[in-house]
C-alpha cells in the first residue's frame, strides 16, 4: 500500500490560513451597507434568475480561493507518496548492464552518441546510490571480465564509468543478464534491481537472451529497461565479401563482390562503395537498396592505380561505403588471394558404354580456358584418389552410382580440409548408398528413391530461399519458378534435422536443392535424363551457384574473422621462429601454430579488439596478413519492443525512457514520490479558475 506523508510537516501549521477567504467573506457580508430604495420589486423579480446564480458563483469562488491556499500550504509541506516498488527503507542491490557494443558508437535520434547517453544514465544511477547500497556495473560485451564488484563507492564506480567506452564487439546480452542475475543472487540485500542501459537492439535480444529474463523475474529482481533510443535509426552496412574474384563483364578485368544491407524502414539513398588498396582507389560502384534488402554488389577492379604488379596477389583492400549512423560497419577489410578461379573436379561415369553428358562442364567453363572463373577437370570415380584441397576447391559428383570406400574417404578428407562438395543425383545414382553411406556426417538428408512424374506431368523448380547464395544471379521471389523448364524425375528426399537448408523445391514441396555448409545437393539430374533443365537460361547460374556455394566451405575467406575472435592465418609452411601478430591500435600478441591437414594454422593468443589488418610476423618477416571485421549482428539498429521484453520477464520490468524518467524514478523509489509540484499546479489551477470566474463577472459588469 502506498504511504502518504509530508517531508516538511511544519508547514501544516499554516493550514488555518485556508480559512482566510471564508473569514473575509463573512466579514464583508456583515458590513454590507444598507441603502434605502423606493422599491425593491424589480430587484426581487431578478433575484430568482440572477441572484441564485451569483450566489452559486460566490460559493464557487470561495471554494476555489480556499482550495488554492490549502493546496499552496500543502505544497510547501512537500507531500510525498511512497510507491509499491520503493526502496526507501532499506539498502538495495543494483546491477547495471551498460551496453558498450559496437552499435553504441552510433548516434541516437538527436544525433548524439549513444554511449554518451548511456554513461549519463549510468552516472545518474551511481549518483543515486546510498550508503549500504550495492552496485555492480556489467559490460554487455564482456559480462564476466568487465564487471565491477558490489560496491557503493561512488568514486570507484565513477572511475569505472569513465573508463567505459564503446567496443567493436557485439553485445552478449544473454551472458550479461546471466552475470547480473548471479551477482544479485549473491547479495544479502532483499531489494534487488537490474538496470539495462542499452539501445535495446532487437538482434542483441535473441531467444537465448530473452530466456534469461525469466529466471531474473523468478529471483524477484525488478528489471528496468533504460533505452537510449526509442526507434530504429536507418543504417546500411557491408555485411560480407565474396572471397572469389570474378571475371568482369564480357570476361574483361576482375570484379569484387560485396554484400551490402540496408537496415531501414525505407529505401536507401544511392550508396557509393569504394575499394582501396593502401591509398589508391582500385575499384568501386554504387547501389540503391530497398527497405531491409541485402544484396551483393559487384565492383569492377582496376589495379593500375595500385602501382604494383604484386598488388593482385597480396591485395589487402579496404571496402568503404558512405558513412551513416554507424561508421564501423561501413568499412570492410579484406585480404584477397590470387584472382579467383574455382578448381572443380567433376566426377562422372560412363553410361552404358557412352560418354557422360557434359552440360555442367559447359556451364562452368564453356571455353575450357578458365575465363569464366571455373576450371573443370573431369574424372571417373577412380580419379577421386587424386583429390586434394591443394589441387581442387570443389568436387562435383554427378550421377555416379556410388563411390568406392577409398574414394569416399578421400571426399571426406577433402571436406575436412575445407573443400566443397556438390552432389548431383540422377537416374544412375543409388539412393541407398547416398542416403545411408555418403551423406551421414556431411549433410542430414535422407533419400527415399527416385520418383518419376505421372504421365504428362512434371516438376517445377520453385525458389524457397530466394536470397540464398546458390541462387545468386537468379532474380526470383519466394515460391516463384526458376525457369520454365520442367523435371520429369526427382530423387525423393527429406531433411533429417533442421540444419540442411532446402533452397529449391518442387511445386509439391519435394526438396530439389539442399545445402549444408560446404555441401550442396541437387536432387535431380544435371543432364537431360530427367527433363530439359540443361537447355534453360537458369541452368548456368544454378550450376555455378551450387559450385560457388560449396566453395565457400573454406569459410575463412577474406575478412571472415570478427572482432573479439583471435586472428588466425593458414600457413603453407611451418614458420621458422615464434609468430607475433600485430594489429591496429598497438595490438600485439603471440600466436600459437599447429598443423592442419597439409598446412599450418597460426592463431593469436589475444582476441582482436578493432577491425583492421593483422600481420603475422616470424623472424621479423611478414608471413601472412588477415583481415578482421566487425560483427554484422550489430548493424541492424532496430529496437526490440519493450512489450516483448516485458512478456519475456513477466510483468516485472519497467521502461525508463529518458534521463528525466530515470532520475524521477530514482528519486521516487529512494525518497518517495514528491507531489509538491502536483499540488502547486493544482493551486495554480484553482487560482486560474478563480481569476477566470472573477474576470467573467467583471466583463459582464
Amino acid at each position: 500500500m502506498p504511504i502518504f506523508s509530508f517531508l516538511n510537516s511544519g508547514f501544516l501549521a499554516a493550514l488555518p490560513l485556508a480559512s482566510i477567504p471564508v473569514i473575509i467573506h463573512l466579514l464583508s457580508r456583515r458590513r454590507l451597507p444598507e441603502v434605502p430604495f423606493p422599491t425593491t420589486q424589480f430587484l426581487r423579480q431578478l433575484e430568482p434568475r440572477e441572484i441564485r446564480r451569483l450566489r452559486l458563483r460566490e460559493i464557487l469562488l470561495l471554494i476555489l480561493r480556499t482550495l488554492a491556499i490549502l493546496l499552496l500550504v500543502l505544497a510547501f509541506a512537500r507531500p510525498s507518496i511512497t510507491p509499491r516498488n520503493a526502496v526507501t527503507t532499506a539498502a538495495a542491490a543494483m546491477a547495471v548492464i551498460v551496453d558498450d557494443s559496437e552499435s553504441m558508437a552510433g548516434l541516437d535520434e538527436q544525433a548524439k552518441p549513444r554511449m554518451e547517453g548511456a554513461i549519463e544514465r549510468a552516472r545518474a544511477l551511481v549518483a543515486a546510490a546510498r550508503p549500504g547500497d550495492e552496485l555492480t556495473l556489467i559490460s554487455a560485451t564482456r559480462p564476466i571480465g568487465a564487471a565491477t564488484e558490489h560496491t557503493s563507492d561512488r568514486v570507484r564506480l565513477g572511475r569505472s564509468l569513465a573508463a567505459t567506452e564503446v567496443t567493436m564487439l557485439p553485445a552478449d546480452m544473454a551472458g550479461a543478464l546471466l552475470a547480473a542475475r548471479r551477482t544479485l543472487e549473491r547479495s544479502r540485500l532483499k531489494d534487488r534491481e537490474l538496470y539495462i542501459i542499452s539501445d535495446l537492439q532487437r538482434s542483441n535480444f535473441d531467444a537465448k537472451a530473452r530466456a534469461e529474463l525469466g529466471p531474473i523475474a523468478a529471483a524477484k529482481i525488478r528489471v528496468y529497461l533504460v533505452p537510449v533510443v526509442s526507434s530504429r535509426v536507418p543504417n546500411h552496412a557491408l555485411a560480407d565479401l565474396d572471397p572469389v574474384l570474378r571475371p568482369g563483364p564480357m570476361g574483361r578485368g576482375l570484379e569484387l563482390r560485396a554484400r551490402i544491407a540496408n537496415y531501414a524502414d525505407a529505401p536507401s539513398d544511392r550508396i557509393a562503395i569504394r575499394v582501396r588498396h593502401g591509398d589508391a582507389l582500385v575499384g568501386g560502384g554504387d547501389v540503391t537498396l530497398k527497405s531491409d534488402e541485402s544484396r551483393w554488389a559487384a565492383m569492377p577492379l582496376d589495379w593500375r592505380g595500385a602501382g604494383s604488379d604484386s598488388a593482385q596477389s597480396s591485395g589487402a583492400v579496404l571496402i568503404e561505403a558512405d558513412q551513416d549512423a554507424l561508421a564501423a560497419d561501413d568499412r570492410w577489410f579484406a585480404v584477397l588471394g590470387a584472382p579467383g578461379r574455382l578448381r572443380v573436379l567433376r566426377v562422372t561415369e560412363p553410361r552404358e558404354g557412352a560418354a557422360p553428358t557434359r552440360f555442367s562442364s559447359l556451364a562452368l567453363d564453356p571455353g575450357k580456358d578458365g575465363r569464366s572463373g571455373f576450371v573443370v577437370d573431369e574424372v571417373s570415380p577412380a580419379g577421386l584418389l587424386g583429390l586434394t584441397k591443394s589441387r581442387y576447391d570443389v568436387v562435383l559428383i554427378e550421377d555416379v552410382a556410388s563411390l568406392s570406400t577409398e574414394g569416399e574417404a578421400r571426399v571426406r578428407a577433402f571436406l575436412r580440409d575445407g573443400g566443397g562438395l556438390v552432389v548431383a543425383l540422377g537416374p544412375h545414382s543409388d539412393p541407398g548408398y547416398y542416403g545411408s553411406r555418403l551423406f551421414p556426417g556431411i549433410i542430414d538428408l535422407g533419400l527415399d528413391g527416385a520418383e518419376q512424374a505421372a504421365a504428362g506431368g512434371s516438376y517445377e523448380l520453385r525458389a524457397r530461399l530466394p536470397g540464398h547464395d546458390v541462387l545468386n544471379g537468379l532474380n526470383v521471389a519466394v515460391g516463384a519458378p526458376l525457369t520454365e523448364s520442367r523435371l520429369t524425375g526427382v530423387m525423393k528426399s527429406r531433411t533429417l534435422t533442421t540444419r540442411p537448408e532446402v533452397v529449391v523445391q518442387t511445386t509439391g514441396g519435394l526438396p530439389l536443392v539442399a545445402t549444408s555448409p560446404g555441401v550442396a545437393v541437387f536432387l535431380s539430374s544435371l543432364s537431360d535424363d530427367w527433363g530439359d533443365l540443361p537447355y534453360s537460361g537458369a541452368f548456368v547460374p544454378l550450376v555455378r551457384g551450387l559450385v560457388s556455394y560449396a566453395a565457400q566451405a573454406d569459410a575463412q575467406g577474406p575478412g571472415a574473422t570478427r572482432v573479439g575472435e583471435a586472428p588466425a592465418a593458414r600457413l603453407t609452411s611451418p614458420p621458422g621462429a615464434a609468430v607475433i601478430v600485430r594489429g591496429p591500435e598497438s595490438y600485439s600478441s603471440q600466436a600459437s601454430v599447429r598443423a592442419e591437414g597439409t598446412a599450418y594454422r597460426a592463431e593469436a593468443d589475444a582476441p582482436a579488439v578493432q577491425p583492421g589488418f593483422y600481420d603475422f610476423e616470424s623472424g621479423g618477416r611478414s608471413i601472412a596478413t588477415v583481415a578482421v571485421n566487425v560483427s554484422p549482428i550489430e548493424s541492424d539498429l532496430a529496437v526490440i519492443p519493450a512489450d516483448t521484453l516485458k512478456a519475456a520477464s513477466g510483468s516485472g520490468s519497467s521502461t525508463l525512457g529518458s534521463v528525466n524518467a530515470l532520475e524521477s524514478h530514482l528519486r521516487d523509489t529512494r525518497r518517495g514520490r514528491e507531489l509538491w509540484m502536483t499540488f502547486l499546479l493544482l493551486a495554480a489551477a484553482a487560482l486560474a479558475g478563480e481569476l477566470l470566474l472573477g474576470s467573467a463577472r467583471t466583463l459582464r459588469a
Binding site: V35, P38, T39
Partner: protein
Amino acid sequence: MSERRPRLLDPHFISKLTRLDLTARLVVEGFLTGLHRSPYHGFSVEFAEHRQYMPGDPLRHLDWRVLAKSDRKFIKQYEEETNLRSMLLVDTSASMGYGSHGVTKLDYARQLAAALAYLMLRQNDAVGMFAFATGRAELIPPRSTLGHARPLLLLLERLTPGGTTDFASSLHSLAERMTRRGLVILISDLLDDPERIAQAIHHFRHRKHEVLVFHVLDPQEVAFDFEREAVYVDLETGERVTTRPQELRTDYRARVNSWRDQIRQFCIEKRAEYVPLTTDQPYDRALLEYLSKRARLL
C-alpha cells in the same frame, strides 16, 4: 437672462429656497420669461388694456375708436377667460421621500405642483389639490382666486412622505367626488400595481376628466448606478434585498424601461398624457406639457 432661466428652473437650486410661494413664482416667471410669446395673454372678449401700436401688429386689433378720437394708434388687449378646473394629485407615499442627489421625489412633486398652481391661478383657472397615500389624504377643492394659492402652498409645505402608494382607495374616491369635468394632474412615482393605476385613470376618464400624468422618478431609480454590494431596503414595505448592482444593472434597467413603457401604453389607451420625469430634469418640460394640454382643452 439665459443664465437665469435654467437656474430658476433647476430643481436642485429651487430646493434650497425655503418659501414655496416665492419659489413657485420664480419657477413660473423664469419659465415664462424664456417663452417667445406670452401664452396666457389671449384675445378674448374681456378687455384688459391698451398698448401702443407697434409696426407688425395685426390691424384687426387696432382700436379704431381711439384712433378716430385722438389720432393715436392703440392696440386692444384682452384677458383670456377660461372656466378650466384643475385638480393636482400629489403622491405622498414613502417612496416619494427618496432622493439620491439632494432632491427627493416629493420635493420635486411639491415644487412642480406649486408652480403649476401658481401658473393656473395666474390664468384664472380653478385649482384644487389632493395629496394622497395609504391611510392619509388631504383635499382642497378647486378655486380660481389668487388668494387660493395660499392654502394650496400651505398644504404642499406640510406634506411629508409616508405610507404606501394606494391608487385604489384614494383616487377612486376622489373621482367619485369630482362632479364637474376638468383637468386631473397626477404627480407620482406610480409605484403601485400598474393595473390599479390604469383603473384609477380609467375612472377619471370615465368621468370625462382630462388626465395628465407626471411620472416622477429619481435618476438612480432609472439607472441603478450604485457601485458596491449593499442591502437595499424598500422604503414602503421595508423589504431587504442584498445584491450587487453591477451584476443586475443591465437587467434592472431593462425592467424599469419595460415598466415605464407599460404605463405609457395604458396612458395612451386611456387617452391620458404621460410625461416621464426624473428629479434632475428642469421643471419647464412639465410646465410646457401642461400648457400644451391646456391649449388642446380650450
